[in-house]
Amino acid sequence: MLIQKKAAPNSTITKLISVSIAVLISFSILFILIYQILIPELVQDQIESRAKAITTFFAGAVLEHIVARDYLTINKLTENITTLPDVGYACVINDSGNVIAGLFSNLDTFDTKLINEVKENGFPSNIASQIHLTERNHSATSSHQIGGRDIINYAFRLENANAEIHVGILTEDAIRTSQHSIIPYAFLLLITTLLGIITFVWILRTT
């Protein structure tokens, strides 16, 4: 006696596929939202930690040269700091607000207005004014735009040298990189879901 397999009704399959797609879209939206909100914050924390580490190292290296007024060495050290990845600028500013040393890593990537200002007057001292350090508050972080680019500025006060140092880390690249990392995961989710749907449909049709 021939046992006839009973195929699942088409309406059931359609419903299942619809539910699967809805789940897929929901997961995708959730996934993207998590990436857009949580990941940048995490990246920002990491950038701040990096800025702090670089600034602390820079402060240790430059302190005695500021006291000795060895401007050449201060500038060379500042130049070295700007070669580190994602560092937008580094500067040393004395209590009078004069820039002892200030360099951008790649000035050409900033807007024309800033480029012209730097070429004419040197490093802009108003960068320091964005953070107000006090005797109690030896360090601080701020996020702002300089020359059209998003930057996290970490400032550190050198009490004995009557100066403060600022290191600006470019955030756009790091955040963009982290956001781009969503793409392979999204593909993986999509492929997994599609395979799941196909498997589900195949099982339904063969039972």
């Binding site: 000795a68 007024r69 060895d70 401007y71 050449l72 060495t73 500038n75 130049e79 004069n98 002892i100 040393a101 360099l103 730097v118 070429k119 004419e120 007057n121 040197g122």
Partner: protein
């Protein structure tokens, strides 16, 4: 009898042949000349820059010329004064202080002029307009011994009736760097600074060049001196002089040295430097008639060469001439292959000489050079 004659001839040959071979075989391997340089560069850079020159001089002298490194400026100056270097390439300051034991034979020129000068600079926004405005003000200098970072300016100011040591508040730059003079001026630590003309654009990557203003250019002084120990035989001096003066513009030796050429020079060219250094120059030691440290200075290519080596009175048999910075006509060296006279030669006649006229100081007024580092 025949046997005795044979024995005599045999013995004579045994004595004669080795003697003849010794006489004919070049013996330059025994001779070593010591070459040194003002230790402004790292040891590696000195070897890279001056290696080709010492090799060339070794070939010309058929001797070994070895580079001797001094540990620092003081060590170099002391050893140069003591005559411990046969050949030296010194900054004007070191040469001027040691000219009692050393004799300049050529000046290393970075361009077509074997002289350099200093600058007095200030901040563009400063109200200093002339050197008179600097009286009583803080002024940064490279160092008290710096030829173009103090001495050139000192000579110039003294000509203008200003004594910078008493009328300015002079302070040496940190680490005696030209860069620190410019940066001190830029940051307003000092009213003005004394720097080498070559160094004007040396910190352009740190500060905008338009923020530094030149108040005045100062006195021209001769550049670095290639000198030889006075006690070396004239023939050796002549060969060294000729070797460097013959170098063409594209010669790899000059390229390694980062120079354009060597030009003839005399001790008098450095009189201004000595005056600026306020040193009482001892009269030069007379040329000795026998070498002090070198037993044989070149291979006896010819009997006259050897005679010249031992007699130390050789001079060019075909003299030509050129003028030094002061315009004095000095003899050019004898060609290497020219047999050297063993007797005292005739005095070089200026009438027979064909001196090449040099540019006068007045002609050199405003030239701007860019980006050459110098702490002299």
């Amino acid at each position: 009898m025949i046997h005795k004659q044979f024995t005599f001839i045999h013995s004579a040959l045994l004595v004669f042949i080795p003697s003849a071979l010794t006489w004919l075989t070049p013996t330059y391997a025994e001779t070593k000349y010591k070459f040194s340089v003002t230790p402004r560069f790292s040891a590696q850079e000195i070897l890279t820059r001056f290696g080709p020159l010492t090799k060339l001089l070794g070939e010309k002298l058929h001797s070994q010329v070895e580079i001797v490194l001094a540990s620092d400026f003081d060590d170099y100056e002391m050893r140069l004064k003591a005559g411990q270097f046969d050949i030296a390439f010194s900054n004007p300051n070191h040469y001027s202080k040691s000219s009692a034991t050393n004799e300049v034979i050529a000046i290393g020129a970075k361009d077509d002029d074997p002289r350099m000068r200093g600058l007095i600079i200030t901040h563009t926004d400063s109200n200093i307009k002339s050197i008179q405005d600097l009286i009583g003000k803080q002024v940064a200098i490279v160092s008290w011994d710096s030829t173009f970072g103090f001495l050139s300016q000192k000579v110039f100011l003294e000509e203008q009736g200003i004594n910078p040591k008493t009328q300015f508040k002079l302070q040496e730059a940190h680490d005696n760097k030209q860069e620190n003079v410019i940066l001190s001026v830029y940051h307003g630590d000092v009213a003005a600074g004394f720097i080498n003309e070559d160094a004007l654009n040396i910190v352009d990557r740190y500060v905008p060049s338009q923020k530094i203003r030149v108040i005045t250019q100062t006195t021209w002084l001769p550049d670095w001196a290639l000198s030889v120990k006075r006690t070396l035989p004239e023939m050796v001096k002549a060969r060294i002089r000729q070797a460097v003066l013959e170098l063409g513009l594209d010669d790899p030796v000059l390229k390694a040295l980062k120079l354009q050429m060597f030009t003839p020079a005399t001790d008098a060219d450095y009189d201004l430097v000595r005056k600026a250094l306020e040193i009482n120059v001892d009269p030069p030691i007379a040329v000795e008639t026998k070498p002090a440290t070198v037993t044989q200075h070149c291979s006896p290519n010819s009997p006259s060469d050897q005679a010249a080596t031992t007699s130390n009175v050789a001079t060019p048999s075909v003299p030509t001439a050129a003028t030094n910075l002061s315009g004095t006509i000095i003899p050019l060296p004898v060609p290497v292959n020219t047999p050297l006279q063993t007797s005292t030669p005739d005095v070089v006649s200026t009438a027979n000489a064909t001196p090449e006229p040099r540019k006068s100081v007045a002609k050199k007024t405003s030239r701007k050079r860019k980006g050459k580092k110098s702490n002299r």
